[in-house]
Amino acid sequence: MIWLIVFFLLPFVVVFKISFADIARARPPYTPLFSWEEGRLLIALSFENYAYLWDDTLYIKAYWSSVKIAFWSTVFALMIGYPMAYVIARASDTKRNLLLMLVILPFWTSFLLRVYAWIGFLKTEGVINAVLLKIGIISDPIIMLQTDFAVYVGIVYTYLPFMILPLYANLTKLDDTLLEAAHDLGASKLMSFLTVTLPLSIPGIIAGCMLVFIPAIGEFVIPALLGGPDTLMIGKVLWTEFFNNRDWPVASAVATAMLILLVLPIMWMRRAAEEEVR
């Protein structure tokens, strides 16, 4: 609880406050909200930043594009992660530990290094193109780096373990006799998966999707390194506002709006889903 207050709530309050200020050539580069003038408290709230977000289509486009990229990355991660989690959960004890180890192994190297490694794979004179050229499948190298494709690859790759682990935790709890019961009552393998395993793994699917979707929306490093100039993501816009334009109030407004527009509905959805499961 204290953890959440110190590292989540307090920073957010600061950001929230800045989002109502005006840009100023000062240090810090924004006007104060509260000031004492002639013994009276003066509150200067500026809603201009939020209006600006609405007026300038860049932000709405960036939000929309972020949601789209995060959504499809989540779908791909789910499609790849579910079978992996399923196989791991059903494997024998010794094999399962090895497979889990392999899923966690990438965390031993820095995230940044791994993204740079992907540059080495994806660039025009990179590993993938070299192999494809050598085999003779393609005659000209494919341009993969600095495209949306590279961003998808990067996000799915990075967040796949976050999809697999909650799904694994869920699937490993599944009682085998439920499947036997389904089988006994006339369900084929596929039918018992669809009517028993899948519905019972919904909490795991929701948890995994949240863990991929939420950080993917605000992702900055992957689109910055792997994406092209037209890859529009809100994290990148945020970075540009803060560090290139030094417009802290607008950047704060972007952050606040993102939180309200994306995270709150997700939290609400999650609670609804949990109640459904119960």
Partner: protein, 378 residues
Amino acid sequence: MANPDPTTEKPWLKTDEKPFIRIRNLTKKFGDVVAVNDISLDIYENELFSLLGGSGCGKSTLLRMLAGFEIPTSGSIEIDGQDMSSVAAHARPTNMMFQSYALFPHMNVAKNVGYGLRRDGVSRGEIDTRVTEMLSLVQLDGYGARKPSQLSGGQRQRVALARALIKRPKLLLLDEPLGALDKKLREETQFELINIQETLGVTFIVVTHDQEEAMTLSSRIGVMDIGTIAQVGEPQEVYEFPQTRYVADFIGSVNMFEGRVIKDSPNAVVIHSEDAGIDLHVPHGVSCMPNQKMWFAIRPEKFEITATKPKATKNVIKGVVEDIAYLGGQSVYLVRLPGGKLVRMVRANRDRGAEKPITWEQQVYLTWAPSAGVVLSS
């Protein structure tokens, strides 16, 4: 239920009756472990057959092979004249009630019960009618919308039973159906289970480790011991005429006297027993060799206990009461024989406050009717 011809109710007594389930030389190995060892067994239509045995005797494995969850290493299973070796679990005319009930937690009671019919593509209207019918059979009318987590243990057991019966299987397999219920509920449910079985006319095979349950429920009992069937018979037969020491010991409690045959005539046998300290007279012929090692088994309730020396001269053992356990309806006496053996006897407490009750450390005499015991050779 009165029927003049006993063979219609006891098809196993008829020589020409075709068995409904025919198990032949069935063996199942898990690696080096033989779980089921060369079992052959016939079970007839409408029987309520119990497989009784301790844990690890292979009874559950046998049941799972009937359901199709385990593939036999060798041997065959035939249900209603049809060989099952190439039929997968979901296509067999059997249904199973699991020990853990295995109710689907994400479905309500009606969905659970109707699951089997939905898989068979039965129309929605018919599913609804049959689910309602089945729920009223197991006395759960109106519980359709509840989730399994909102039910008591006894109610869950009924849902599991309804779900397993709704497809009208030819054979219902029940794995410890009453194991998870408390004693009182278990007794009530036993009779209900028999009623349902008689109403529907489905053949039941019940796996249980509880001999009382097997006795109450079954038309016949198959007592299992390390992968084999030690004896098959009606409850009374298995109790009163056990064929081996294992069966005698597993069903109920028994006093076992080891001895050697000293006199063998066509209609009487005398066994000299060091355990009992006397010669045991058995009033019927036993196929045995002179001097062969034999066991005389006698149930605790077959003894008479007296404080004074009885008139009979044969089959009288003297001993000292070492312990008495008063159980209300009956009392258990543990009597120490001069040879050191402890004998257990049970007496119904017919009188309230007997004049001269038998008490601790008292010298007593144990006698029994000539045919009260069984002679066993293995």
